[in-house]
C-alpha cells in the first residue's frame, strides 16, 4: 500500500475544535463532518486508493477560502483541494488528518467577453459548460479531456488537462490566460488577466499543472476560440500497429496537424465495436481515426492528402465520413473505449505515458511481452498525434494478487516509456499513482529544484502533501547552499 504522510496526532485529537472553527468561516452545510457524508469524498477516479478525510469544507467565495487556508496554516493542518474528483492519478486523494477543500460551489460563469476572446469563470464550472456558455457566439473552449462533462476547470488547471484536440490546440496551460488563487498563507494573488503575456515571472505557467500543491484557484480566465466551420473524420485500418504509427509520422511529416488523431489496437477495437457498433474493421490490428477540421475547402483537401498517405502505408481500410452523423459514429467507439473495455473485464487500470512516436511499434511489442510475464491483458487506446499512450491493463480485483500484478505491470510500462525517451504522464498527472516513479525520470537535484519551488509557495508543505514527490524535504534544508562534504561541485574540473 502506498505510504502517505504520517497523520498528525495533535491535529486528529483537536478534530472537534477544528470542525467548530471551520463552521465559523463556512456556515450552513459547507462543513461536512459526519462519517457517512465524509465517506463520499474518500477517493477520486483512481478508486484503488481510499481515505476518509478528517473533514470536508465546501467554501462559496474567495473570502471563505482565505479564512480556511489562513486557519489551516496557523494550526498546521493539511489541505487537499478537490474539483469534481475525476483525477485518474489520485490527485484529490484525502488525508486522514487533512481538510478536504471541495471547490464545487464555485460554479458561476462570471463574464463572457467575446471581443477579448475570453471567458472568466469560477473553478467549479465544468469544462463542457464553458463551451456551452460561449457557443451562441460561435466560440468554444478547446481542451477536451474525456471527462469534460464532469471535470471542472479548476481541476483542469491543477492537472494541466489535455484531450483529443491538444496536438493542434494545446493543453490547458496554453488556453488559460489568467487566474486568481489563494496561497496557503491566505494571500489572494492574480496572475495574468484578459491581456496577453502576463509580465514578470510566468507563475501562471507554473501554477497550471501543479496538482494542488501551490495554491487554491478561485477564478480562471480562459481563451476561447471560434468553432471550426466543419470537420470530417477518416477511419483507417492497418494490418500492424507499426504501419499505423508510420502513417501518423508521415501525416505530420507532410505538414498536416489533424484536429485529432487516435490509434486503437485489436483488443480495444473489438471491445468498442461490440459495445457501440461503429462499423470498425474487425480484421485490422490497428485502427487510426484522423479528424481534419477547418473550412470545407481545407478539410476536403486534407482528407484527400491523408487518404493517399494511408494507402501508401498499406492501409487495408480507408473510409472518410460523408455526414456529420457518420463522423460522430466514427468517434463513438473511441470515446466509449474505456467503458467498452470495462465490459470485457471487471476492472482495469488506465495508464498514461508519452513516448516519441517513432517508438510506438517497439513499445507495443514490449507490452505484449509484459502481458505474458504478468499474465494480464492490455487494450491500447492512444492519442497518436502526440504519442500519448493509454494502455488499459485488465484485471479482476476479486482475484487475490491481481491488482498488485496490474500495478507492477503499469509501473513497468511507465519505466519503458521513460527508457525510450518519453515521460511518466502525458495528461493525467503524477498524483499518488506515479509519485514513487518520479526518480525514474528525474534525479535528486531535479526533484530538489522542483520542491524548492514548492517551498516558495508553501514552505510548511500543508497543501496536498504526499502527492507528486516521493519524499518531502524540509524547506530549510533545501534552502541551504549545499557545499557537499566541504567541496564545491565538480572539484576535479579545471577552473578558468
Amino acid at each position: 500500500m502506498l505510504a502517505m504522510p504520517e497523520p498528525d496526532r495533535v491535529v486528529l485529537d483537536r478534530r472537534a475544535e477544528i470542525v467548530a472553527a471551520l463552521k465559523e468561516f463556512v456556515p450552513g452545510e459547507g462543513v461536512i463532518d459526519t462519517e457517512c457524508e465524509r465517506r463520499a469524498y474518500e477517493c477520486d477516479a483512481l478508486t484503488a486508493y481510499r481515505q476518509t478525510p478528517m473533514v470536508v469544507v465546501l467554501p462559496e467565495d474567495t473570502r471563505q477560502v482565505v479564512a480556511v487556508l489562513r486557519y489551516c496554516k496557523e494550526n498546521g493542518i493539511k489541505v487537499v483541494p478537490r474539483g469534481a474528483g475525476t483525477s485518474l492519478s489520485g490527485g484529490a486523494l484525502p488525508l486522514e488528518d487533512g481538510v478536504l477543500l471541495g471547490m464545487g460551489k464555485f460554479k458561476r460563469i462570471l463574464d463572457i467577453d467575446a471581443p477579448n476572446r475570453c471567458a472568466v469563470v469560477q473553478p467549479g464550472v465544468t469544462n463542457l459548460a464553458i463551451s456551452h456558455a460561449v457557443q451562441g457566439q460561435g466560440l468554444y473552449y478547446a481542451p477536451d479531456p474525456s471527462s469534460q462533462i464532469a471535470c471542472t476547470i479548476g481541476g483542469n488547471v491543477a492537472e494541466n488537462s489535455g484531450g483529443v484536440h491538444c496536438l493542434k490546440y494545446g493543453l490547458t496551460t496554453n488556453n488559460v490566460i489568467g487566474v486568481e488563487f489563494v496561497t496557503i498563507d491566505g494571500e489572494v494573488i492574480r496572475l495574468g488577466g484578459k491581456f496577453l503575456d502576463a509580465g514578470g515571472y510566468d507563475l501562471l505557467g507554473v501554477l497550471v499543472g501543479s496538482e494542488g500543491l501551490l495554491g487554491v484557484v478561485t477564478e480562471v480566465t480562459v481563451r476561447v476560440l471560434p468553432t471550426p466551420p466543419g470537420a470530417r473524420a477518416l477511419l483507417i485500418g492497418f494490418p500492424s500497429v507499426q504501419g499505423a504509427g508510420d502513417c501518423v509520422a508521415a501525416v505530420i511529416g507532410a505538414g498536416i496537424i489533424p484536429g485529432g488523431m487516435e490509434i486503437m489496437d485489436r483488443l480495444a477495437i473489438e471491445a468498442a465495436e461490440a459495445f457501440v457498433h461503429a462499423g470498425y474493421p474487425l480484421d485490422a490490428e490497428a485502427l487510426l481515426i484522423v479528424e481534419l477540421d477547418g473550412c470545407g475547402a481545407e478539410v476536403d483537401h486534407l482528407i484527400a492528402a491523408v487518404e493517399k498517405i494511408a494507402s501508401d502505408h498499406g492501409a487495408t481500410t480507408v473510409r472518410a465520413s460523408q455526414t456529420e452523423e457518420e463522423r460522430l459514429l466514427f468517434w463513438a467507439g473511441r470515446k466509449a473505449a474505456f467503458p467498452a473495455v470495462g465490459r470485457i473485464s471487471p476492472d482495469y487500470l488506465c495508464m498514461d505515458g508519452t513516448i516519441p512516436r517513432r517508438e510506438i511499434g517497439a513499445v507495443l511489442l514490449r507490452m505484449k511481452q509484459l502481458e505474458e510475464k504478468y499474465g494480464l491483458r492490455v487494450a491500447n487506446v492512444f492519442h497518436a498525434g502526440d504519442g500519448n499512450l493509454h494502455p488499459l491493463i485488465l484485471y479482476d480485483a476479486n482475484k487475490p494478487g491481481e491488482l498488485d500484478r496490474a500495478e507492477k505491470f503499469g509501473q513497468d510500462i511507465l519505466r519503458l516509456c521513460v527508457e525510450v525517451g518519453g515521460v511518466l504522464t502525458g495528461e493525467h498527472g503524477v498524483g499518488v499513482e506515479k509519485r514513487d516513479l518520479m526518480d525514474v525520470m528525474f534525479d535528486e537535484v531535479d526533484l530538489e529544484q522542483q520542491q524548492r519551488l514548492k517551498c516558495a509557495f508553501d514552505e510548511t508543505s500543508l497543501l496536498n502533501p504526499g502527492k507528486v514527490f516521493p519524499q518531502l524535504c524540509r524547506c530549510a534544508e533545501l534552502g541551504r547552499m549545499h557545499v557537499r562534504g566541504g567541496k564545491l561541485p565538480f572539484p576535479d574540473l579545471p577552473r578558468f
Binding site: R117, Y201, C295, D446
Partner: protein
C-alpha cells in the same frame, strides 16, 4: 572584468559554483543582441554562452527540436525551413528597434519570451518550450520537462524559465515543439479605418471561423512608414493550404468588404516589418503595452491627449500596442502611460540606460505577488548571482 566562455554545462556549473563561493555576480549573454532590453545589469563578471551553440537533436516527424541556447535563430530557422517547419511563435529579432549589433539566439528569444505577430493565434514562446537543462544559482545542473510534445510530469519549470531574463538559471539546453510551415499565406488590407473601428473589426475577424492568424492596425503615420505606403491600414493574415486560403480570404471579404491583397511574399515582408517595429517613429522612447485588447484604441487616445506627438500601432488585434513618445520627460512617461493602461502591463523597451535604471522597465506588481516572485528567485538563485537588477531593483 573577468569574461567566462564555457563550452559545456559542466563548465558553467564550475563557474557558477566559484562565483557563489566568492559571491561574484554574473552578467549572462550569448549573442548580446538583447542587452538593451530590461534594466542595465551591473555585474562583477561576464558569462558569455556563445560556445553553447548548435542543434542537439531534431526529428521533424516528432515535432521536437533540442538545441543549445546560443544557437543563432537564423540557423535554427534555416534548418527548420529545410524540413518545411518553423517556430510557430516566430520570435522577432529587434536589432534595429534596440539599435544593437549582435546575433539573436534561441536562448535570448526564450529568456525574453519573444513572440511575433503569429502570437495572437499560435501562442507565445512560453507555449512551445517542452523541457530544458540548466545550472541554478547553486552551481547545480538540473533538468525539467521532457522531450516529447505532451508531458505533465512534475512542475512546469520550463515556463518559468521563459521570460525570466536569465535571472533564475542559466539554460544549457532546451527542447521545443516545432510546427509545420503553412503551404501558403496572404494578407488582406482594409483601408481607412479609425483606430477604434479597426480594433472592433480585428476582434470580429478573429472570432469568425476563417482562422485569421495575425491582425494588426497601422494608423496613418505608421502605415506611411511601412511597405504599404498609405494608411491607415488594417491587416488580416491567413495561412494554410492554398485552396483553403483562397476560400477563406473570399469569405472574409464578404464580411468586411473588398480589400487589397498581399501575396505570400509581400505578406511575409509586411509582417516582418510589424514584428520588427519598423513603422514606428525612429526617435524618443518606445513602450510596449499589453492591454486588454478591446481597450487599446482608448488607451492610445488617452495618451495622445496628454502627449499629442505620441505615435502608436497595434498588433495582436490590439493585444499589443507599440508606442513612441517623442518628449516623455524624466520618467519616460511611465506615470501617465501606466495610469492610462488600467489592466495589463507596460514595458519600457527603448530608452537610454540612465532612464532604464531609474524607471521601472517592467510593470510593477502588487505586494503579495512581488514577495512571491522574490521567494521564487531566492529558491533558484539564492545569492542573486544572475543578471542582478535586470528585471527589478534587487533582481
Amino acid at each position: 572584468m573577468t569574461l567566462h566562455r564555457p563550452s559545456s554545462a559542466q563548465e558553467v556549473a564550475v563557474i557558477v559554483a566559484a562565483a557563489a563561493a566568492e559571491k561574484r555576480t554574473l552578467e549572462i549573454f550569448a549573442g548580446a543582441s538583447k542587452r538593451g532590453f530590461g534594466r542595465p545589469v551591473r555585474a562583477d563578471a561576464k558569462l558569455d554562452l556563445s560556445k553553447l551553440a548548435g542543434i542537439v537533436n531534431y526529428e521533424a516527424p516528432e515535432l521536437v527540436l533540442t538545441a543549445r541556447p546560443a544557437t543563432p535563430l537564423a540557423e535554427l530557422e534555416h534548418v527548420l525551413r529545410e524540413k518545411g517547419q518553423m517556430l510557430a511563435f516566430a520570435p522577432p529579432k529587434w536589432l534595429s528597434l534596440l539599435g544593437i549589433e549582435g546575433t539573436p539566439t534561441l536562448g535570448g528569444a526564450l529568456a525574453c519570451n519573444l513572440s511575433g505577430p503569429r502570437r495572437v493565434r499560435a501562442g507565445a514562446a512560453r507555449d512551445f518550450i517542452l523541457g530544458f537543462s540548466a545550472v541554478n544559482g547553486r552551481g547545480e545542473i538540473f533538468k525539467a520537462g521532457g522531450k516529447v510534445v505532451k508531458n505533465v510530469t512534475g512542475f512546469d519549470l520550463s515556463k518559468l524559465m521563459v521570460g525570466s531574463f536569465g535571472t533564475l538559471s542559466i539554460l544549457t539546453e532546451v527542447t521545443l515543439k516545432v510546427m509545420p510551415r503553412p503551404e501558403s499565406e496572404c494578407t488582406l488590407l482594409l483601408q481607412g479605418l479609425t483606430d477604434a473601428k479597426a480594433i472592433d473589426v480585428m476582434a470580429r475577424a478573429l472570432n469568425t471561423p476563417h482562422e485569421i492568424l495575425s491582425a494588426a492596425h497601422l494608423p496613418e503615420g505608421a502605415a506611411r512608414r511601412s511597405c504599404v505606403g498609405v494608411g491607415p491600414v488594417t491587416a488580416l493574415r491567413l495561412e494554410g493550404p492554398a485552396p483553403s486560403v483562397a476560400s477563406r480570404a473570399a469569405e472574409v471579404e464578404k464580411v468586411f468588404g473588398a480589400a487589397a491583397r498581399l501575396d505570400a511574399e509581400a505578406s511575409a515582408r509586411f509582417w516582418d516589418e510589424v514584428a520588427e517595429v519598423r513603422a514606428l517613429l525612429p526617435e524618443g522612447v518606445v513602450w510596449r503595452l499589453c492591454p486588454t485588447p478591446s481597450f487599446s484604441a482608448r488607451l492610445v487616445e488617452t495618451i495622445r491627449q496628454i502627449l499629442p506627438g505620441a505615435e502608436a500601432f497595434y498588433d495582436w488585434a490590439g493585444g499589443l500596442v507599440w508606442l513612441s513618445l517623442p518628449e516623455a520627460g524624466s520618467d519616460a512617461g511611465a506615470g501617465f502611460v501606466r495610469a492610462a493602461l488600467q489592466d495589463g502591463h507596460a514595458t519600457l523597451m527603448v530608452a537610454p540606460d540612465s532612464l532604464r535604471e531609474t524607471v521601472d522597465v517592467f510593470q510593477p506588481v502588487p505586494r503579495a505577488l512581488a514577495a512571491l516572485e522574490a521567494r521564487v528567485k531566492q529558491n533558484l538563485d539564492p545569492l542573486g548571482l544572475f543578471n542582478p537588477g535586470r528585471m527589478r531593483k534587487g533582481f
